[in-house]
Symmetry: C2
Subunit: 166 residues, 2 copies
């Protein structure tokens, strides 16, 4: 089981965008540069985040991305589902119904116990991700950022690259 | 995030093998036939289960697979980790350290808050999978198998295909 690299890039991007001023946006190229990743690859994930209503896309030459809602209203689960899709990790192929002696159709009214157990675990995973907002992650970061260097790093970059959309 | 099809096949195979008599084994070909899957693909997963100490491999022309320990001592987590590997789904690439202004090395003493949050969710997922044994899954199945047809289906196949290794 593996999450794509896009999840890490998307979470870091959302965290970065939360530092913008009210009318500011950041281009995909700037986000990609800051994180040292491919712009075209990141763009795909930024579009997924827009599609999921996590980011707003401001079009035009001074356009870019900004959060569509507060960082305290965006959970890690929101970002993971936007980037990876909403399907569960375990995708039951109903192999009970295959082979020389498939299970009769009347047993198919409820999910296989194996599928049910796997989905229970997935619910626990998602519930945990849903507990953590981007704002909470940034709060933890600030707590550990004793001399302010981590926050200063992001702020310096934003100051240089933020675009004012209005 | 997606688990490979091998997980479903491996769990069903382990469940099937739990129905063998004490000195019985089942060939990979028989397990593949019952589940209507490719023998070569299933073999890869059976070998992973053997490698993880979940199955025993009995060599020779009358050989095959059997459980290495009781179905009440094999959890879904054991099977998932055997087939999918032990690495977490979220694999932090430390993109904090990339780009034009990487985070200084002294901040690398503890994991990024994002990584820590993602790993918390993974622990919840694994804890849930670790709660469910193959025996428990089979117990739930038996409870719902009112007319015994599901169990009978497996038993009939085992009767025909079980090999006595001694």
């Amino acid at each position: 089981m593996k999450l794509g690299d896009g999840v890490e890039q998307a979470i870091h991007s959302v965290a970065m965008l939360s530092g913008l001023s009210a009318d500011g946006v950041l281009s995909a190229a700037a986000l990609a540069e800051f994180h040292g990743v491919s712009t075209s690859y990141l763009l795909k994930h930024l579009q997924a985040l827009s599609g999921a209503g996590i980011l707003q896309t401001v079009p035009g030459p001074r356009g870019g991305y900004r959060l569509a809602r507060g960082a305290d209203e965006i959970t890690l689960l929101d970002v993971v589902l936007a980037v990876e899709g909403r399907e569960p990790a375990f995708r039951c192929k109903e192999i009970r119904q295959r082979g020389p002696n498939p299970l009769p159709q009347r047993y198919m009214t409820r999910p296989c116990q194996i599928n049910a157990a796997m989905l229970r675990a997935e619910r626990a995973y998602r519930a945990e991700l849903a507990k953590t907002t981007i704002a909470a992650v940034l709060g933890e970061l600030a707590e550990q950022d004793m001399d302010g260097a981590v926050v200063a790093r992001g702020c310096a970059f934003l100051e240089q690259h933020e675009r004012k959309s209005s």
